[in-house]
């Protein structure tokens, strides 16, 4: 057992090192930062328009940069109108309104985007090495399961780094585009939500890892993984529909197996999200092993 853990840890560490030395880590981090920063920037444009409208109503000078009239927007419930549909309940709205304004927006956007980045990353886990058989060098030194879990862990670490960089992208927008922002509190709140986003992405990383075991073609693996991720969203949508209300037993059985079933638990103050986060992490490992019956036996 200890030997297996040691091997998986070594593989994860060297996998991360290799990714950091090559452009794959840079591309992933930049993509994450650009998407997060881009989403945050777009929201600041919306915010600026709202603030200008409020300024016109109050007959005060309009601001050139967003952020100066956030208190006014809070008082006029305009921020609540934006955030309420994102968080889904008044209790969570209270919490979201206490955060620096870009934090809940970043969290909401990342919840939607990270699954797809995670699937794309997961699809690269072993597929290229299956194609050129370079896995054979490792397979005479460790088991297939250790190799797979080590690679999964390496990708998970990489995903964690990318999540932190994405938070950096949003923070940069806050620091450069907005005014009167509590930058330290902004950084702390963004980083505080990073573990939740990371855990949320793990089941989707697992789907990508599973797909990468089925083919030596990375693009096919990406397509398979994205298809599986989309299927999970569609499945969750069906369970949430009136049809699902008519089949409560099925909903109780299937919903816990879908990552979306745990997503809303990630919102909110305190550490109440931890247990759901752990379930998501476990789902990630289970999903990564879905293709094990094939990978464990195929000619590598």
């Amino acid at each position: 057992m200890l030997g297996s853990l040691r091997d998986a840890g070594l593989i994860a560490w060297f996998h991360l090192r290799r990714a950091l030395r090559t452009r794959s880590a840079v591309v992933l981090a930049l993509a994450n930062a650009l998407i997060a920063g881009g989403g945050a920037w777009f929201f600041t444009r919306v915010l600026l328009e709202l603030e200008r409208a409020a300024a016109r109503t109050l007959r005060v000078p309009e601001t050139k940069r967003p952020g100066a009239m956030l208190d006014t927007l809070r008082e006029q419930d305009q921020l609540s109108d934006i955030l309420r549909p994102l968080v889904g309940s008044d209790e969570l709205l209270e919490w979201a309104l206490q955060l620096p304004v870009l934090t809940p927006i970043h969290f909401w956007l990342a919840l939607g985007v990270m699954p797809f980045l995670a699937v794309a990353l997961g699809a690269e886990t072993v597929a290229p090495d299956v194609r050129d058989r370079s896995l054979r060098y490792e397979l005479v030194r460790t088991g297939r399961l250790e190799l797979l879990l080590g690679r999964f862990a390496g990708q998970a670490l990489l995903l964690g780094l990318a999540t932190v960089v994405a938070a950096g992208g949003t923070w940069l927008i806050s620091a450069t585009v907005m005014v009167q922002q509590p930058l330290l509190a902004q950084a702390a709140s963004l980083l505080g939500l990073t573990p939740r986003l990371w855990l949320w992405a793990l089941p989707f990383l697992g789907l990508g890892v599973a797909a990468s075991q089925l083919t030596g073609n990375v693009n096919v693996a990406r397509a398979l993984g994205l298809g599986a991720a989309l299927a999970s969203w569609i499945g969750f949508g069906i369970l949430q529909s009136p049809w699902g209300e008519e089949h409560p037993v099925l909903v109780d059985l299937v919903e816990p197996l879908l990552p979306q079933g745990w997503m809303m638990d990630l919102w909110g103050p305190g550490l109440g999200w931890w247990s759901s986060g752990l379930v998501l992490g476990a789902l990630g490992v289970v999903f990564a092993l879905l293709a094990w019956p094939v990978f464990g036996r195929r000619n590598l």
């Binding site: 060098y137 005479v140 030194r141 088991g143």
Partner: protein, 314 residues
């Protein structure tokens, strides 16, 4: 001492209705030997390696590696080194990082792995490329890096599938010296189409064809070094009758060579050494120039003699 590797009755098919890639293959590689694995394309050499290393499950038969059953990466950790023939190297990893991971997975401590990586990179003349990514290496360099990975940690059994493929003559000679330096320290199983190279390196040979064992034994046995001598002679009449009269238990046959004759002598092993002066004297008395003497056949000749004739290439 026992065998480092023993396979018996090994059978493997890639497709249910396809031909047998391995069809009851048997062979044994004694500990401490350098054993060549020889066979034509499609003979099943790479499949044999793949099954022995656990990349492929066999359909039937058994494999015993170092006396501890079928290959298991945990049971045999650090005790078996492998150079797979058709496996690429991780292109974006540096040479040193690749070997370091392999060494660590073999159970070496970080310090030992670093030391051994350094030594192996020097051994295959890649020390100056240690921080370069694998993708920047030439084909020959990648081959040498693969060989270095197989030798990491001084394993008890090293299996090299076509280690000389793609190497230039200088690189091949360097690698040959590396392999010869391992004689007596480790067991080597080496497959190659370069039979002259194998003959220089190996003390044992396994000949296989169509997934089956054709012959196995020492190089001396396979090439009949203990019972056969070929004499390269100049032009003139070969005194076959005189030779047969002088050495009654021996058989002699001749064939024409480019500018003379080739005389083949087959003798009881105990009499071969003592007969050479008699043959030489008889040939000299007949006025024939002796241009060369070779004990046994070349490995290539032995291999071709053991095979059924194939159609000429048209």
């Amino acid at each position: 001492m026992g065998d480092a590797l023993r396979v018996s009755g090994l059978r493997k098919k890639y497709k249910r209705r396809g031909p047998w890639a391995l069809d009851g293959m048997e062979c044994a590689v004694p500990r401490g030997s350098i054993c060549g694995l020889v066979g034509p394309n499609g003979a099943g050499k790479t499949t044999l390696y793949s099954v022995v290393c656990g990349f492929l499950p066999p359909d039937a038969g058994s494999v015993d590696v170092l006396g501890e059953g079928p290959f298991d990466p945990f049971v045999h950790k650090g005790r078996v080194g492998v150079l797979p023939q058709d496996a690429g190297l991780p292109a974006r990893q540096t040479c040193a990082d690749f070997l370091l991971l392999m060494g660590r997975l073999q159970g070496l401590s970080a310090a030992d792995a670093r030391r051994d990586v350094d030594q192996r990179l020097r051994q295959v003349s890649l020390h100056d490329r240690r921080t370069d990514p694998v993708e920047s290496l030439s084909h020959g360099m990648r081959r040498r890096l693969s060989v270095a990975s197989a030798l990491l940690g001084s394993p008890e059994l090293v299996m090299l599938d076509e280690p000389m493929a793609g190497l230039d003559p200088v690189q091949a000679a360097g690698l040959r010296d590396v392999l010869i330096s391992l004689r007596g320290k480790t067991t080597l199983l080496v497959s190659s189409h370069n039979l002259g190279e194998l003959e220089r390196i190996c003390d044992r040979v396994v000949l296989m064809d169509s997934g089956r064992l054709v012959q196995q034994g020492t190089v001396a046995e396979i090439t009949a070094q203990g019972s056969q001598v070929t004499w390269e002679l100049g032009p003139g009449a070969v005194p076959l009758d005189a030779l047969r009269a002088a050495l009654p238990g021996h058989t002699f046959s001749t064939e024409d060579s480019l500018d003379g004759h080739r005389l083949r002598q087959t003798a009881p092993p105990a009499e071969l050494d003592g007969s050479s002066t008699v043959v030489a004297a008889t040939l000299a008395a007949a006025g024939l120039a002796i241009r060369g003497v070779q004990r046994g056949r070349s490995l290539e000749a032995s291999f071709l003699a053991g095979r059924e004739p194939t159609s000429p290439i048209s």
